[in-house]
């Protein structure tokens, strides 16, 4: 496959960054709100969930959890709590990730419809789009789209004249990566400090204000209307047999590449295709040193692993994670310690401060990296970093933030050990420029 291969791009078909997004009328003209109509008029809520389950839609927020399974844990029927919530996780803050912005700015009605269909599936009473505060344009466009949808009776008390209704509003955040973690997001939406919550109870049982709640990523949800319209088989077909996973995926690439960007491609497209065919390879004079497959919280992979299919299992078997699927190319002019320092500074700064290893471990790792960069490290510091990759690993901390922070570190320690060793103090004195990084 190359960049000219033609295939379906349901999520981005109507996105054209050079013009205003589709209005409600325009969106309806290309088939918009048909899925909502179909769901509400022709399908029982459980049918929608079943369709999503059959389609094997997996969460695009990073963890790949099957969406239909998540929804099916929501209590349904007459005995279920009256208040139920669906929240769209639009807090996109994973460094290197810029796909949800594209979807929201590019076709806000698609997300609005997706929210409504999904809300119908779980019979939610309120729906919120938790949008990161910096996405000013997305907020404007989403709010405008919601207003239009309300006028047309798609949002409100009796949607399409039926008995079910849901309110939909945009909630903008005030900046904190941890708000993307779904239970922290719920706390944040409640107007609290965004510390994650202990699970169990899972949000589907006791989420927002203690009521059943579903949290899904923007991209995940945007698939839902298309699945409702066209069915599971069509959805499976989208990945063209390149992956066990179904559908398309918004892949992307950034770093010093010729043509950075984000493209909707069949699930399982290889990293090499993304980097070379779509992003045009590295800028002249640069070579690939390593790459992050899907955001700052994934393990580095090496150039020789570029032929891996970008799907959850394949990247997982290669000891990394597909994460958000937006590749970050690190070129050979980069000092891996400085790259890591940048990453770990991010994680240390964005730690919510709730659990010990993350709160007090990450800042320590930052200080060690600074010392190593300044060639003032101590030999045992490398051992300490190594220990941290265990002590801050999965299950050790309260949420997945710190384990995410350890992924690039542990892979860097594995692949670029010599660069760490070079930072130990026996080595030549640092240059003034190097020293500056310390401050």
């Amino acid at each position: 496959m190359n960049a000219d291969t033609v295939f379906e791009r349901p999520l981005t078909a109507h996105i054209d960054p050079t013009r205003e997004p589709l209005s409600l009328k325009e969106y309806e003209a290309v088939g918009g709100y048909a899925a909502l109509r179909k769901a509400v008029k022709e399908m029982a809520p459980g049918d929608v969930t079943k369709a999503v389950k059959d389609a094997n839609l997996r969460g695009r927020g990073g963890a790949g959890f099957p969406t239909g399974v998540k929804w099916s844990l929501i209590p349904m029927g007459a005995d279920a709590p009256r208040d139920k919530y669906i929240i769209c996780n639009a807090d996109e803050m994973e460094p290197g990730t810029f796909k949800d912005r594209l979807l929201m700015e590019g076709n806000p009605h698609q997300l609005v419809e997706a929210m409504l269909v999904s809300a119908y599936a779980i019979q939610a009473s309120r729906a919120y789009i938790f949008l990161r505060g910096e996405y000013i344009l997305a907020a404007q466009r989403l709010r405008a789209a919601i207003a239009e949808a309300m006028e047309s009776g798609y949002v409100g008390a009796h949607i399409l004249g039926g008995s079910w209704g849901v309110s939909l509003s945009v909630h903008t955040g005030a900046g904190r990566y941890i708000c993307g973690e779904e239970t922290a997001l719920i706390n944040s939406l409640e107007g609290k400090r965004a510390n994650p919550r202990a699970k169990p109870p899972f949000p589907q049982i006791a989420g927002l204000w203690g009521k059943p709640t579903v949290v899904n990523n923007v991209e995940t949800l945007c698939n839902v209307p298309h699945i409702v319209n066209r069915g599971a088989d069509w959805f499976h077909g989208l990945s063209q047999g390149r992956s066990q996973d179904s559908g398309t995926k918004l892949y992307g690439c950034s770093g010093r590449v010729k043509n950075p960007g984000c493209w909707e491609l069949p699930f399982g497209t290889t990293a090499r295709e993304i980097l070379e065919d779509y992003a045009g390879g590295l800028q002249d004079g640069l070579k690939l040193k390593c790459w992050l497959p899907g955001g700052a919280s994934t393990d580095f992979l090496l150039p020789e692993q570029l032929d891996l299919a970008m799907d959850y299992d394949t990247i997982g078997h290669a000891h990394s994670r597909m994460g958000t699927g937006l590749i970050m190319a690190v070129d050979d002019h980069q000092d891996i310690l400085k790259v890591l320092l940048n990453l770990e500074e991010f994680f240390a700064q964005e730690s919510c401060g709730w659990c010990t290893p993350c709160r007090d471990g990450l800042p320590w790792s930052v200080k060690i990296l600074r010392a190593l960069i300044a060639r003032q490290g101590r030999r045992k510091d490398i051992g300490i970093l190594e220990e941290m990759t265990h002590a801050l690993g999965p299950g050790r901390t309260f949420c997945a933030h710190a384990p995410g922070a350890m992924e690039p570190l542990q892979s860097a320690l594995r692949f670029f050990r010599d660069e760490f060793e070079a930072g130990v103090a026996e080595h030549p004195a640092p240059t003034p420029a190097e020293l500056q990084v310390l401050t």
């Binding site: 904190r176 400090r193 919550r197 202990a198 169990p200 109870p201 049982i205 006791a206 204000w209 203690g210 240390a348 700064q349 964005e350 730690s351 919510c352 401060g353 709730w354 659990c355 010990t356 290893p357 709160r359 007090d360 471990g361 990450l362 800042p363 320590w364 200080k367 010392a371 101590r378 045992k380 300490i384 220990e387 265990h390 002590a391 299950g395 050790r396 901390t397 309260f398």
Partner: protein, 916 residues
Amino acid sequence: MATIHVDGKEYEVDGSDNLLHACLSLGLNIPYFCWHPALGSVGACRQCAVKQFKDADDTRGRLVMSCLTSATTGTYISITDPEAVAFRASVDEFLMANHPHDCPVCEEGGHCHLQDMTVMTGHSLRRYHFTKRTHLNQDLGPFINHEMNRCIACYRCDRFYREYAGGTDFGVFGAHDNVYFGRPTPGTLENEFSGNLTEVCPTGVFTDKTHSERYVRKWDMQYAPSVCMHCSLGCNVSPGERYGEIRRIENRYNGTINHYFLCDRGRFGYGYTNRKDRPRVAFIAQDGKLAQASTEDARARLGGLLRGAKHVVGIGSPRASLESNFALRELVGAENFFDGHSDAEHVLVAQAIAILRDGPVASTTLKALESGDAALVLGEDVMQTAPRAALSLRQAARGLGQKLLAQQKLQHWQAGALENLAQDHYNPIFVTATHATRLDPIATETCRAAVEDQARLGLAVAHFIDPAAPAVAGLDAATEARAQRIAECLLAAERPLVVSGTGAGSAEILQAAANVAWALHARGKTVGFFLAFPEANSFGLGLMDARPLGEALDALANGAAEVAIVVENDLFRRAPTARVEAALDKARLVVVDHQDTPTTRHAEVLLPAATVFEGDGTVVNNEGRAQRYFQVFDTAYYHPDIATTESWRWLRRLLSDVRGDGHDASTFDEVSSACAAVLPQFTAITKAAPQAKFRILGLKAARTPHRYSGRTAMRANLSVHEPRASQDADSPLAFSMEGFNGTGTDNTPADQRPGALVSYAWAPGWNSPQAWNKFQDEVGGHLRGGDPGVHLFTANTQASTTYFTHIPAAFVVDNTTPRVVALPQIFGSELLSSRAEPVASRITEAYVAMNGTLAATLSLAEHDSVAVTIAGSVLSLPVRISDALPDGIIGVPDGAPGIPRIATGAQATLKVGAAA
């Protein structure tokens, strides 16, 4: 029960607990910080990790937080697994990275949970070689020090202060490694339970400021099991002494009463005992002034006085022990023994006792209040009169969260889920009072009305519950509906509570409360009935059936009696000044007290009494539980010329002088046993604690920790020859580190240390208050050696319910002569604590409160001055407008400087503009 496997051994545990709780209950050590038995699990610190295996064959296992994992049957864990051990050490290392190395100057040093856990995890070498993050501190008022650099961010303070205690002026600020725990702006912590932060905080961020000035290490203080004297609840305390001064009060665990927490009055009110102006030797009046005298001279004088007098009256005190009151009664004769309460309180206490003793429902315990799921608080402002009970009631309200957890099949310790499910919903609590109370924020409904209207509401509630209870005629529809709502709510509850007391100054309120409790009982409900009493030993004194004080005052004023012996009482707090003066002007007055009060100034002879810390005694708390307190230290050890001793011992000496029998050296057990023998209602008191001859493994229990240092030099300023340690003939405790100091968890049988003889919390490796874990049958349960205290009577559940039938008339508003209510104050209303400097600084200024309507009719605005005439005294007071007060009622703060003690219910006249 559940069977779990820990490091290859099988144990039976309570399956509803988490693994941390279960293992600690088994006596196994797992380090932890964020978990607290009363606060539940949140999984923040990650210190409690253990390895969990799928089954007996699994060898890989995975780390889990023991505080967040259920102890269900078939659980296999390892505490000693190397990976778990290494992880726990690294958690401690992370915590210590920013922690200052200031243990030598830190006031937590030596009873610091962080120190203990650092030793337990084995983290000993600092590898962190970078700068530490630092914070600025806040001035949090007279009680609490703040040293944020020591914070390890376990979030316990926040969870205790805001969730558990309902404080509003505290929070967590910032994020990542810059989280800050404190007030939004510097200033006094307002919550009445702020002092518990010093024990809840596992390190030295929050420490006891009252202790700072005269700081001493935990191991260098001497302790004895003691009881708080500052209200009627009888919370157990552990006072620490050094060089003849009480240096600090800490909570003493009693699983039936206060368990882990005290109120600030109880914790910080001890300073009265250290006052320089206390009488510490005898005084005899000379030329109208009291002059120091030797004990011999004073006794000689008193012998003559008592032998010559025709008629001697003895006036007891609700803040003196049973033994002291009894010894006075013995000295003067039962017919000449008078109650030390005011006459109004005399009636109320008698009424309250009769209700609890003769009615079908006995008192519930303070701890049991927490498991109530609906409450009617009738007329009693518990936060001010019996503060610790307000904390328990708050837990009853929060119990809704527990119900919701259970509905979701979640465990009771899931603290985060509890908050999440409950949000700001509480179990129903109905609060009636004449004024706004600090329980109002969690109240489902509040009713502000005059006492008779509150009583009418209560009686109506009782009638709705059980139609056999008398109906109240003439209620308005709203009150009728409210009564029905309350009745339905109480009936719907599994464990309804009825809380009231003497604080409203109304026997009708007490009767109404009794009717409600009895009606619930009649309907087959397990009702928690709880009455607050005026003072620490009001219940005990009330049981002595003494004659009312007014009769003694009259007898003195009219010459029928010529000598009065007043024990630990200031009569000016008990009756109007003019009446007391009329009596004392005529009388020859003997006072035994440890405080210099207006009464002592009228004394002809003044004998220096011991405070609760300096002597032994028994007091009876509001539930009728007799509790023993023990002498903490021997005053004469440091200052041989000090003559203070228990009032009962003075009175026994006087008795022996009068009788001339030479029996001068009564012991506590003698007096206590005599009391039990003479007054059958006190038969049980000798069981409140072991008697002096009791030994554990042949030893007395030590009052000081093993490491207690410097005893050999303590008296070097007097003589370099070290005297023998003081001997204690009154108790099974030794004034020494030589004695039994075990917990019962080591190789000694578990029940060898009775709960009543645990002076302070210490166990090997556990120096902080967390060491209570080692004394409990299960963590957070009862003391293994039994919770201290004995009930003097059991519920008369077979008693037939004879409802009170008197229905008070509705209150008639008269704004020209409004009724005065004394507004009880946690700081100020109680005498002894008000004499502690830090508490004194929290006492409100005098004011008169009234609602806007009354203020408007008098053209008064906030802060305006008004002359208030109450029972003949004219007070010039600034106005405070509080619309919570009903029409026709004004309030003055009880115990504020310049305000005499006013009996609730007096009539006042207000004159605008004029100053007194």
